[in-house]
Symmetry: C2
Subunit: 510 residues, 2 copies
């Protein structure tokens, strides 16, 4: 297992993250330290870092560097963004950091910042064509993406700390102040002719401000316990949030659920910038991803050698990443997936359900992950798989898809599928959708109960009143499907209810 | 990793369980198949196994044996208990099983059955002296345990299937029938002079009937999501349950939450036997453990060479077992435990709290397990540790202790400790208890933030208005406590609130 650290020295906070990965198998976040350094405080128009923020920055860098030495992480990429980039006296700070800690900080340009944001977006969302916005403390990066390539990018000085200090000083915020800020955003973006949501193109959003806004928006809905990854923040909901935040004095803004205390004084500025940029480009909604600059830098290293460094298929690799992190029995889960997809296709061909490739992919993902809960305990491992999928998340899928996958894993054994736990995420047909997918996976799991692939495939025979599923053995002389048949026979009722016909499982010779 | 299977051929059900273990490190349940074979059905007074149940038994044995072959588990111990033991034609069944599956079933005596029950009790509860009761389908084993040794044992033919068939036939149950059964139990136990709860001795209960009764009783309380392990089933609550079950016809009894459908027709008989046996011996309550015959057999193998095969310290080994299953960083968690206990002791000595060795042990356990949630994800790993501890359980601790340990792990970072999630388990003082333990672990974790033991120990200096905790380094020249001090300084408020004094963390030289 390898470990690599990224230090992100932003305007609002400094953050050290450690990633761990097994090349070619999986990766995950291993550790994180954050300090609200606010290095840009008081920079103003002069663009000079003040002594106190510089001192905070230096002390934080020293702690991070000690942490890396102590924990034995040798590879580190420390980068500084807008606030330090734009400071007249940045070399003074960087020299002090270098002298005291040995860290050689790389000051990245606005174009590089946009590049890493782009890598974060296309490697954490299933995203072909559209736009991206990254709201930092000092600057905002705007991107246009086509065919998963970065086509246009611009970095503008509209970061949340910067605009808050310039346009929204003081404890209370007036409508006049907000209007002035909106106008400033429009003016700044006026030159960007390509910033326009032609044909309903998607917009992806990254950065701490947007994550906080999405969390706050989610708290107003009745949702299962999922993160903001893939959440669609609609423009209307953002406007409601802006009104709610603006109506409170700065010191009370952290009382809004989802808003971090050390961001409470700049979140409104950031929210208005996002809203104005959406309006300017004509975007109705923003897809949120939890990945950001740090992940972009990490992906560049993880996918070294690819140009550009892109995962081939974000959804697919999210699923296998999670499966490998929990060391599932690959041969078993892949066979459950094979049998499931075979039944799904055969049932569709026979006109016994009306679902398509979207559901087929969710079924595949649930099959690959249905047993990860065994890591926790054999007892109730179906519940544990649900918990693990929900908690660890699957970039590339939106919250509803994530919950559906978790629910199919939950009901791969025991109990009656129930879509009501989707709450506000539930869409028309989800109850039937869940019933079918659970019916299929439950049978596939039982047909592979002895984990030896003794049932190689399934043949469907559609009768007047009942469907017969005939287990076909692999032709292997030692292959004994008796456990499979015995187990499957007692588990056909969920699928039967889904297709409205009795389902009978029989052996090869019956 | 090694795997070993136990097949338990009981009167009510046949069960195959597979245990996995890393010798000297950890063990867990790996797989389980259960079939409600009801081999004793219709045996009656003649003691002859009927053809249909025999056929079911044979088919189930064949499936189990195929399963073992397919999954490559080579070591298996198949045992048969009361129903088969007592059957006049048992050799016929055993020969058929042997011929068809190769399984050489070992028929264990009542004394052996009691022995395995005893091993299950003393290895899954912190239990020195007391009594045990194991309610099976065919027989009931009673035990007297002194100094963790089995002193007396008896197997009586009062199993739940047996007494239900004999005393409670039919769809409805009358008070007269219940009375007759109670009388029968008393008469059967009359000879057992040692079955008497002298000096409030404890009574431990095992077996599926008791597990089901405990689950049903728990459902009437408002509890966190914990299993029945260590649950204290009081005699009054058992009586309420008996009344509730008896008031329903047999076909509706599975509607009572916690009662398994395939046990619904015999659970009342089992419950009355337990109640009558408790009354006969003068017991007020029953401590439930989830371990049983199968675990007893497994422990005998796991602890081969010890006589008797006992874990040295059930609580301690539960904690290390769980920590090792999730591969925690031993050096780190042990150091967090060391620092925590040091602070706990120093604070007690200074009169800053009034807790004792009970809380000290809970604190130790939480320290050992605080990071197991990292297996799931770094983000929110404190929540995940809580979930894992709750789900996997800790034999030897009761549900309240388990939840307290999980809560201390939950609050080892972030948020304000809150005892209200204990719900009906909450006892007087738990809020203060939790606040202190969380205050201590949170500081210890931060003093070991860089995971390098740079802070070797802590010295407490009690002042008028504030307590100073001085970090002491190990004397190692490379030892750098700066991360520890920086991290701890921002995390002293929980402990401060617990002891009602400000807490200041300082470095060695300050």
């Amino acid at each position: 297992m390898e470990r690599v650290a990224v230090i992100d020295m932003g305007s609002n906070s400094f953050r050290l993250v450690v990633f761990q990965y097994e090349p070619g198998s999986w990766w995950s976040l291993a550790d994180e330290i954050r300090e609200a350094t606010r290095v840009s405080a008081g920079m103003g128009d002069e663009g000079v870092l003040r002594p106190e923020p510089m001192d905070r920055a230096l002390r934080t860098a020293a702690v991070f560097s000690s942490f890396l030495r102590a924990s034995g992480v040798e590879r580190v990429d420390p980068v500084a963004t807008s606030a330090i980039r734009d400071a007249a006296n940045r070399d003074e700070l960087l020299a002090s950091i270098r002298e005291r800690t040995g860290l050689a900080v790389r000051v990245i340009s606005g174009a590089e910042e946009a590049w890493y944001g782009y890598l974060a977006i296309v490697n954490s969302l299933a995203f072909e064509d559209g736009f991206g916005i990254d709201v930092g403390g000092g600057s905002v990066q705007l991107m246009r993406i086509a065919g998963r390539r970065l086509e246009d990018a611009e970095s503008v000085r509209l970061g949340s700390v910067r605009v808050s200090e310039a346009f929204l000083p003081g404890e209370e915020t007036s409508g006049k102040q907000l209007k002035a800020l909106r106008k400033h955003v429009s003016r700044t973006l006026a030159e960007l002719k390509w910033w326009e949501a032609a044909d309903g193109r998607r917009l992806a959003g990254i950065g701490g401000t947007i994550r906080n806004l999405a969390t706050a928006a989610q708290k107003t809905l009745d949702l299962p316990d999922v993160d903001v990854q893939g959440f669609l923040l609609e423009r209307d909901l953002l406007e409601d949030l802006i009104e709610r935040i603006a109506s409170k004095p700065v010191s009370k803004r952290a009382s809004i659920k989802g808003v971090k205390p050390d961001r409470a004084d700049v979140i409104l500025g950031g929210a208005v910038v996002v809203a104005a940029a959406m309006d300017h480009g004509g975007f109705d909604a923003l897809e949120v991803t939890e990945a950001g600059l740090r992940e972009g830098i990490f992906f560049e290293r993880l996918l070294e050698g690819r140009d550009p460094p892109l995962l081939e298929d974000v959804r697919r690799e999210s699923v296998t990443n999670l499966a490998h992190r929990f060391r599932t029995d690959d041969l078993h889960v892949e066979h459950v997936a094979r049998l499931s997809l075979q039944m799904f296709d055969a049932l569709r061909e026979a006109g016994l359900h009306r679902f398509d490739d979207v559901e087929r992919e969710l079924l595949w993902a649930a099959c690959m992950l249905h047993d990860i809960g065994m890591t926790i305990d054999y007892d109730d491992h179906h519940h544990h798989s649900h918990y693990l999928i929900q908690s660890a998340g699957l970039p590339g899928f939106d919250p509803r898809e994530l919950e559906l996958i978790a629910l199919v894993a939950r009901w791969h054994r025991k109990g009656d599928p129930d879509a009501s736990t989707l709450r506000d995420l539930e869409r028309k047909g989800d109850s039937d959708r869940l019933q079918l997918l659970c019916g299929v996976i439950r049978l596939a799991e039982q047909l592979e109960r002895s984990r030896d692939r003794s049932v190689a495939s399934v043949r469907l025979e559609d009768g007047e009143k009942r469907v017969t599923l005939r287990a076909v053995t692999g032709g292997d002389a030692g292959s004994d499907p008796s456990v499979a048949i015995w187990s499957a026979q007692g588990n056909a009722d969920v699928l039967g209810a889904a297709i409205g016909k009795a389902v009978k499982v029989v052996g090869p010779a019956e």
